[in-house]
Amino acid sequence: MTVASGEPVLECSGIRKSFGDHAAVKGVGFSIAHGETYGLLGPNGAGKTTTISMISGLLEPDAGEIRLAGEPMTPDSTHTKRLVGLVPQDLAIYPDLDATENLEFFGRLQGMKGAELDRRVAEVLEIIELTDRAGDRTEQYSGGMKRRLNIGVGLLHRPTLLILDEPTVGVDPQSRNAILDSVERLGEEGMAVLYTTHYMEEAERLCDRIGIVDQGELIAEGTQADLVRIVGQRDRLTLTATGSLAATAAALGELEVVDDAGVAGDEIVLIVDQAHDHLPRILEMAARTGSMVKSVDVDSADLESVFLKLTGRALRE
C-alpha cells in the first residue's frame, strides 16, 4: 500500500466510542495528508487517546469509519497496522532489555528481519541518539532517553503514519526540545504525523493543521491562522492571582469588553478586545470580587485563546 503525495493517509469520519455510560469520543472525523503533521489539541480527558487508540487498531469504534491508505482499520486489520507507528503516551519498552533488543523485538513483530533489521536498528539508534548506550538495559536510562527510545520503536518500520500520543509528558526541557526537533524532521522528510498534546506551544510549533478536541468532540479544525481567526483581533489577558478566582472570572466575563473568561490553576485567562485600554477597569473588578492580582500578561490571540473562546474554559483546566 502506497500513498501518493497530497492524498489522505488517514481518513476517519464519525467515530464514536463509549465505555459504559461514558461517551469518550462523540463522532470525531478528520483526515491527514501525506507528509502532513496534524495535531489533536485538547485538555486531559478530551478523548485524544481514545481517538488514536481506534486509529491505531487498539480499540474497535462503536460507530464510524477509519481508513488508512484507503484500507479499513479495525483491531483485526493486521495488514493495515503495518502502516502505523504508534508511540503510546506511557513508555512501552522493556526495562530488562537493552535498546537494541527492544528495537529488534518490535522490528521482528513488524515483519523485519536479517540485515534489513540490523541496518534499520542502527539508523534509528542514530536518530534517537542512543547509539552509545544501545547495549545498556533501558532500566538504567534517564526519563528522556526512555522517551526517545519509545519514539524510536514507533519509527523503526518506516510507518506511513506515525502516531505520537503526548510524547513530551513528564520530560525535561532538553529532552523535550530533542523530541520536538525529531518530530519536525520527520514531518520535513514527508512522514504523516498525528500528534496529540495539551501543550498549545507544541501544536503551534509542529502542526500543519490542528484539530481542537473537547469532551469527545472535534470543535474546530484548521491551520493555526484559521483557528486564531475565530478569536479575531482580540488579546489574551492572563492574570496570575490569589483569592476567589472563579468568582472573579465569572464577574469579568460579564464585562462587555471581555469575550470569554476562564480559570487555569492560579490564572484567570480572558479574551479581551484592546486589553491595554481596559486593564485598569479589569484589575479594579478583580480586586472587588476577592482576587489579589500578582501579575498581568497580555498576548495576542493564540490557540489558548481559541480554546477559551470555543469552550469557555482554559486549555489547562
Binding site: 487498539l58 522493556y94 523485538f105 521482528r108 515483519g111
Partner: protein, 398 residues
C-alpha cells in the same frame, strides 16, 4: 507461529535475566526436595541387607530345609553358620561387636538357633522352639529374621496337620518325617502377586523430588501466562496489539514461553535429582509423557485464573493459592494415597495427584500405566485452557 515464537523468545530472554525465575523454577523445588527427602524421611534410600548367624545343633532335615530353602533362597541375606550358641551370641552382642555389621566384620543382625533333636521333636509332635537373638543395632533386620522363623513355624504346623489328615484317611501311620520333608521341599504352587499400594510407592527422595517439581511447576508456568497482564500494566501491550500480528499470536507466544520454561525447569530437576541424589523417577519415556501432560494442565489452570483476574497481582495471588491447594490435595508434600478414605480420593481432583499417581504406577515399568494419568492431566489442561484462552483473548486490551 513466527510472531508467537518472537514473543516467546523475548519472554525467555527476560526470564533468563530474572533471578526469581531460577529460584522458583529450580532452586526452591530442588532445595525442598532434598530437605524433605532426607530430613523428614530418614529411611529414604534404605535397602534391606541381612546377615544372620545360624546355629544348627539339630543337623536334621527340618532345620536344613529352613537354612537352605528359606534363608538360602532369600535375596540380600547372608548366612553365617556357626557351631555354638556362644559364638552366635558373640556375633549379635552389640557390646562386643560394633553396631550395624558390615561385610568382613564379625557381626550379625540376628542369630537363629535350632536346638538339638529339633527334627525328631517336630516328627514326634513334641513342643519345640527356634531361638532368635536380635542385634540391638539392627532392629529392622532382626525383625525380619523373626518374621521368617515365624513363617516357617506356621508352615511346619500346616504340614503336621496335613500329615495327620493323610493318616486318618488311609487309616494307617505314615513316615511323618519323610512325608513332611517332601511337602516342605515341594515348591508352593500359589504365588502371591504383591500389587498393593506399597509396591507402587516412590522412595522418599524421588517422592519429594517429583512432588516439589510438580508443585513449583504451577508457579513457574504462572509467571509466563500472567506476563500478559504484566504487559498491560507496563504499557507494552499497546505496542503488541498495534503490531501487524493477531491476538492469537500474542497469546500463543505467552503460552509457548510458559511451556518452554516449565519444560526446562522439570528437565533440570529430573536430571539434577537423578544424578545428584539417585532419585528414581522411572522410565524416561513415561516420565516425559507425564511431565508434558502436567505442563499442559498447569498452563490451562493458570490461563483460566489469568482470564478471570483483573490484574497481574490478583492473578498471581489467586494462582498461588490454587497452586498450594492443588499441591496439598495432590499429595506433593505427603503421600495422601496412603491416607485412605476421602483424602486419598480427593487427590484426583488435582493434576498433581494424577502426576504423582502416574509416577508411582511407573514402578511397574509398564508404560501403558501412564495413559490414564496423562489423559486426566490433558483433560484438566484442555478444559481449563479453552475457557482461559477465550477469556484472555477477549480481554486483551492496551
Amino acid at each position: 507461529m513466527g510472531a508467537a515464537w518472537t514473543i516467546a523468545r523475548k519472554d525467555l530472554k527476560q526470564r533468563l535475566r530474572d533471578r526469581s525465575a531460577y529460584i522458583i523454577g529450580i532452586v526452591a523445588p530442588l532445595g525442598l526436595a532434598l530437605v524433605f527427602g532426607f530430613v523428614l524421611n530418614p529411611l529414604s534410600g534404605f535397602e534391606f541387607e541381612g546377615r544372620y548367624a545360624v546355629v544348627d545343633l539339630d543337623r536334621g532335615p527340618v532345620s536344613q530345609i529352613f537354612i537352605e530353602n528359606v534363608l538360602g533362597a532369600a535375596e540380600r541375606i547372608e548366612v553365617i553358620e556357626v557351631g555354638t550358641v556362644a559364638e552366635a551370641e558373640a556375633l549379635v552382642d552389640t557390646e562386643v561387636s560394633p553396631l550395624g555389621g558390615t561385610e568382613g566384620t564379625e557381626t550379625a543382625d540376628a542369630a537363629i538357633i535350632f536346638p538339638a533333636g529339633f527334627s525328631a521333636d517336630v516328627q514326634s509332635e513334641r513342643p519345640v522352639a527356634i531361638q532368635v537373638i536380635g542385634n540391638q543395632g539392627s532392629e529392622t533386620e532382626a525383625g525380619i529374621a523373626v518374621a521368617m522363623v515365624e513363617g516357617y513355624a506356621s508352615e511346619l504346623t500346616s504340614v503336621r496337620v496335613a500329615v495327620a489328615t493323610v493318616e486318618n484317611l488311609v487309616g494307617a501311620e505314615v513316615d511323618r518325617l519323610a512325608t513332611g520333608v517332601a511337602v516342605l521341599q515341594t515348591p508352593n504352587p500359589v504365588t502371591v502377586l504383591d500389587d498393593t499400594a506399597s509396591t507402587k510407592q516412590l522412595d522418599g527422595v524421588t517422592f519429594y523430588a517429583a512432588g516439589m517439581a510438580i508443585f513449583f511447576l504451577f508457579f513457574t508456568v504462572q509467571s509466563g501466562i500472567t506476563g500478559l497482564l504484566e504487559e498491560q500494566r507496563a504499557g507494552t501491550m499497546a505496542r503488541l496489539l498495534s503490531s501487524p500480528i493477531s491476538r492469537t499470536s500474542v497469546l500463543g507466544g505467552k503460552m509457548l514461553s510458559a511451556f518452554l520454561v516449565g519444560l526446562v525447569s522439570m528437565a533440570v530437576l529430573f536430571v539434577a535429582t537423578t544424578f545428584a541424589v539417585d532419585a528414581d523417577w522411572g522410565p524416561p519415556l513415561g516420565v516425559a509423557l507425564l511431565v508434558l501432560a502436567a505442563i499442559v494442565a498447569a498452563i490451562g489452570i493458570v490461563s483460566i485464573i489469568a482470564g478471570f483476574a483483573r490484574s497481574g497481582e490478583q492473578a498471581t495471588a489467586i494462582g498461588s493459592m490454587i497452586g498450594m491447594v492443588l499441591g496439598f490435595l495432590g499429595g506433593t508434600f505427603f503421600d495422601v494415597s496412603q491416607a485412605g478414605g476421602l483424602l486419598a480420593s480427593l487427590r484426583f481432583v488435582s493434576p498433581h495427584g494424577w502426576f504423582m499417581q502416574g509416577l508411582a504406577d511407573l514402578r511397574s515399568d509398564d508404560l501403558t500405566v501412564v495413559v490414564v494419568p496423562v489423559l486426566a492431566m490433558l483433560g484438566f489442561g484442555v478444559i481449563t485452557g479453552a475457557i482461559g484462552v477465550s477469556r484472555l483473548r477477549k480481554g486483551l486490551r492496551p
